[in-house]
């Protein structure tokens, strides 16, 4: 049994009469100890997918039309409020993009961490355990920092406190929603190294959400690419980034300049990301796709098993390193 299995999730916002679809048939699975990276641009649905795992979206306005989210085999969408309270932190913990707004400004960071311990591991709710957690996330002078308020810490330190708080309950799954986007490059590198160490040390699964393909390459075992509320490609991260199959993934990778690349012009994707609720019919990428064919504007394609372990939502995909396969 997978630690997390999302099956055919469909999510809408707003009144039933004029609702806006945010997720349309999202399926993914995550094994214990594995790192899955969800890559996509803003509005693609990666954050709402992540927030759905612990039902963190208020409903209404969010409504789950179809699908299930199985966490340890139990459907989160059918859980009662008290069951949800147990899994939030108990099984799945979150860290967010802006640690400054996620921390309580009027509570010392040590006592915020202790609060997480009281809820999930009451026996361990001690200063020593808080210190140990702060040391685990490599906060210098943890004795002094325990008594700091969030505003006294830099962005990188705030994110470390968030990670310590997330680890306090010994979660089996850590959801990291753009954890380094608000940080500088050198601090981003520190947090990436920290997540890499923690992943090995605690053998917990990580669902990492990012728009940065480089970060996906650094940390992920597997990756899934989202576009307009759907997963368009998934597979082992190394293979997916080296040999992308879906035209969108290809275009996305081609449009990012690398250090020491000799390209004079960047490849671009024409147009812009379609707005929520204004998704084109058929394949959602077809108006921007260089390989679009007639059926693309009419037919909504399924995620195909293209190669072992690799899914792609495009029947016309081409592999650069493998002879073309008939599907």
């Amino acid at each position: 049994m997978s630690l997390l299995e999302i099956r055919n999730l469909q999510l809408e916002f707003g009144e039933p009469q004029h609702s806006v679809c945010a997720l349309d048939g999202v399926s993914l699975s995550l094994e214990a100890g594995e790192t899955l990276c969800l890559v996509g641009e803003s509005g693609s649905g990666k954050s709402v997918t992540a927030l759905s795992i612990a039902r963190l979206l208020p409903s209404p306005p969010a409504r789950y039309r179809r699908g299930e989210i199985l966490l340890n085999g139990q459907d989160v969408l059918k859980m009662s409020a008290s069951e949800l309270r147990a899994i939030r932190g108990g099984v799945v913990s979150y860290i967010f993009q802006e640690p400054g707004t996620a921390l309580n400004p009027v509570q010392r960071v040590g006592s915020q961490i202790k609060e997480a311990l009281k809820l999930h591991r009451p026996d361990a709710a001690t200063d020593q355990e808080v210190l140990r957690l702060l040391k685990t996330v490599r906060i210098p002078a943890p004795e002094a920092r325990m008594r700091s308020y969030a505003h006294e810490l830099s962005g990188g330190m705030q994110q470390r406190v968030m990670i310590a708080m997330a680890l306090a309950s010994h979660p089996r799954l850590l959801v990291a929603d753009e954890p380094t986007t608000a940080l500088d490059v050198t601090i981003q590198a520190q947090i990436i190294e920290l997540l890499r160490e923690l992943k090995q040390q605690f053998s917990m699964a990580i669902l990492l959400i990012t728009h940065n393909l480089g970060i996906a390459a650094e940390l992920a075992d597997r990756a899934a690419v989202m576009y307009a509320g759907q997963i368009v490609e998934s597979g082992p991260a190394v293979e997916l980034l080296r040999d992308p199959l879906h035209p969108y993934t290809k275009a996305l990778i081609g449009s990012v300049p690398g250090l020491a690349s000799e390209a004079l012009r960047l490849k671009t994707i024409p147009g812009s990301v379609p707005r929520l609720g204004a998704w084109p019919a058929g394949c959602r990428f077809h108006p921007r796709c260089p390989q679009a064919q007639i059926p693309c504007s009419q037919q909504d394609f399924e995620l195909l098993q293209a190669l072992p372990g690799r899914g792609v939502r495009c029947p016309f995909f081409r592999s650069t390193s493998l002879p073309s396969l008939s599907v």
Binding site: V185, T186, Q188, A189, G214, P257, A263, L266, K267
Partner: protein, 325 residues
């Protein structure tokens, strides 16, 4: 360089006073920009990289006198503009323009696109008739890849990438020689960033524009720049040809910055230098070399003697005691 530089900045200094504490006599200053010199040739792109708070935005604005420098000189095509006041600055601003990071905040939501782009034309009285004004605006929108028929629309009707194009059209309206691009793509979606970078390059080729391109993304800066400066705590720590700075930097800080860029190809992954600690406060910068508390190579003299920016190769300057000539 035999050509006269378009913009020359000498020993520029911007110090902001910090609000004084009660009964504390000595006034403190944030040294946002501290003794920075550079030149930009016509048609050249000078990249400026550094982490947040290093002073790169202040430097970009001070070079246009949008922020008043507290010391140093600014020369535009050989003419000193440092002491210019409002009326003479207006003429200067026809040649120096800026585009901003946030395309949502930098366009007036109550003005139509035609008026946003046309405002500069009106101020500088560049179009004698209404018809000429309209035609000029239509051509500008076309030049930046927007549909000219949309000129009566408002900014909220456009996506982030399109708004950044409007900001570029506004800067181009007065036909400037230099545009300061202050993180022009960091607020955009990945798939749209490449469009804007290519547009900036095309406009440079067509019009011979010079750019001061400010960004924190080294890969983007290497892609677009001819020369690059690396800034740390208000000072330039390394400067030179873009390829050299981004591929084989000599300053330990530039080396760490380059190694911190996440790479797509795991096989080509560089050995990462993870810097300890964080950028210190620019109010009381460390003595000696400002980078020494985080520098993996720091020696005793780095703590006391501030290193000068020295030339180590034909187009390569480094401010570090440990780099040999």
């Amino acid at each position: 360089m035999s050509l006269q530089p378009l913009l020359e900045v000498r020993n520029l200094q911007v110090h902001f006073p910090v609000s004084r504490k009660l009964f504390k006599s000595n006034r403190q200053f944030v040294r946002a920009v501290d003794d920075v010199s550079f030149t930009i040739a016509p048609g050249e792109t000078l990249g400026l990289v550094g982490e947040s708070g290093c002073g790169k935005t202040t430097l970009g604005r001070a070079a246009l006198k949008l922020v008043e420098p507290t010391g140093g000189r600014i020369l535009l095509a050989g003419e000193e503009i440092t002491a210019f006041k409002a009326s003479r600055l207006r003429a200067v601003r026809r040649r120096l323009q800026i585009i901003f990071q946030d395309p949502y905040a930098s366009l007036d939501p109550r003005m139509t696109i035609a008026n946003i782009v046309g405002e500069a034309l009106d101020i500088h009285r560049l179009t004698p008739t209404k018809l000429a004004r309209r035609q000029r605006i239509e051509r500008l929108l076309d030049d930046v890849g927007l549909d000219p028929s949309q000129l009566e629309r408002y900014p909220h009707e456009f996506s982030g990438g399109q708004r950044q194009r409007i900001g570029i059209a506004r800067a181009l309206a007065v036909e400037p020689a230099l545009i300061v691009c202050d993180e022009p793509i960091s607020a955009l979606d990945v798939s749209v960033q490449a469009q804007v970078i290519n547009l900036l390059r095309d406009l440079q080729d067509q019009r011979g524009l010079a750019y001061l391109f400010i960004a924190h993304d080294l890969a983007v800066v290497e892609h677009i720049s001819h020369r690059v400066m690396v800034m740390y705590l208000g000072k330039i720590v390394e400067a030179g040809e873009a390829r050299i700075i981004c591929r084989t930097p000599k300053h330990p800080y530039s080396q760490a910055l380059v190694s911190a860029v996440p790479t797509l190809d795991p096989l080509a992954r560089r050995k990462r230098i993870v810097l300890a600690g964080e950028v210190p406060s620019p109010i009381e910068p460390p003595g000696g070399c400002p980078f020494h508390p985080r520098c993996p190579l720091a020696e005793a003299r780095c703590k006391t003697e501030p290193p000068a920016l020295r030339q180590v190769a034909p187009d390569h300057w480094v401010s570090c005691h440990l780099v040999a000539d």
